[in-house]
């Protein structure tokens, strides 16, 4: 088991090794949903929630797989359990808030094939985090993801109002913005470590 303190795990996941800006996980929703601030906030919240559930699931699955000594089933069982969980969230959201559901559009099912979620599950297993450590890690990662998404959306909303050459418009501009954000997040290196 890892002996890192909870606070340092949290800071590490949220800022130092931000999932989007340092590990490049969850890039698709990052570019897809970050053109409007409001959707970005919702998406961030959805991903954070799924991350929390996925982390708990992954911890339990890992216990089970260790007990039967079948580590080669890890990838397949993680992804199946996580995608069923996402399906559940989708149904819940459809029921509770149809407007949110419509705003998310195609991206909610895509959380299933979101590398950030599976990446989180794999990283916490590789690092041997205990139960509370896993939960804290997932909270930090979710918060970091939402933070990156919201920051990005804020910049892109402003960018919309400026004149950008046709050539750079769209993904290329978004990539440069992400690169600069990522450089900014490098400033956190050394924190909580």
């Amino acid at each position: 088991m890892s002996d890192a303190s909870h606070w340092s795990i949290f800071l590490n996941a949220a800022l130092v090794n931000n999932f989007v800006l340092a590990y490049f996980l969850g890039i698709c929703p990052f570019f897809g949903v970050s053109s409007k601030l409001e959707t970005a906030v919702r998406m961030g919240a959805a991903v954070s929630f799924v991350m929390l559930v996925a982390s708990v699931c992954a911890f339990l699955i890992n216990l089970l797989l260790d007990a039967v000594n079948a580590p080669y089933l890890r990838i397949i069982s993680y992804i199946l359990v996580i995608s069923s969980t996402v399906q559940l969230v989708e149904m819940l959201m459809k029921k509770i808030s149809p407007t949110t559901f419509r705003a998310m559009g195609i991206y909610l099912p895509l959380i299933t094939t979101n590398c950030a979620i599976l990446g989180l599950a794999l990283f916490q297993t590789n690092r041997g985090y205990g139960f509370t450590q896993s939960v804290v890690y997932s909270l930090g990662a979710g918060l970091g993801f939402a933070l990156a998404l919201v920051l990005m959306a804020g910049v892109r909303e402003k960018l919309e109002l400026n004149e950008v050459p046709d050539l750079v418009k769209g993904t290329a501009a978004a990539l440069v913005v992400a690169g600069i954000l990522s450089m900014g997040f490098m400033g956190f290196a050394g924190l909580g470590r």
Binding site: L21, A22, Y23, F24, L25, G26, I27, C28, F31, Y72, R74, I75, I76, I79, L80, S83, L110, T112, T113, N114, C115, I117, L118, G119, L122, F123, N126, D166, L167, V168, T171, A172, A173, L175, V176, A178, G179, I180, S182, M183, M186
Partner: protein
Amino acid sequence: MASKEVTSTDEFVKGLWRDNPVFIQVLGMCPALAVSNTALNALAMGLATTFVLLMSGLSVSLLRNFIPREARIVCYICIIATFVTSVDYLIMALSLELHRALGAFIALIVVNCLILGRAEAFASKHKPGRALLDGLGMGVGFTLALLFIGVVREILGSGSLFGVAVFPDGFQTWTVMVLPSGGFFAMALWLLIVNRIKQKQAATAKTVEVTS
């Protein structure tokens, strides 16, 4: 569907340029950016992804009449995860060093939108031969794109290519290119070049139309 008239070479070639997964469709960006800090990593990642694309395309295409429509995504994911697990163990057996460099990103091939996208959009509707060609084209296109990004990042960031120094000793390396932000910048650079070429092509197509 017009797929009857599409030649088999076109099935292969479209992945290289017209529908290039990374530069045109902007799919599978996570591995494209994350492991492209050296050309060698990029190549290994590209080959591993190509293998999974080929095998899952073939399996999905062979099983396309047996997979129930409602449960198809789950079936595809199971098939893909099986091959990803084998690639993971294969790379571990071949080179532990490479496995360490690529880290969890080999396992993350399973959530590469490109593979599920091809299974859903192509392999589930076509015969195995065509699915293989399509997978090969997409895989090669993906590998090339990764290699392009990796080459730029390695040359500028470490002053070498495949581990061999390309600049004289005095060269000040651009460390930022090896760091995460360099991935975004290199990708943006290639996108710009691709956009420029597409723009030019569209312009020539227009003039041809006008003159004819």
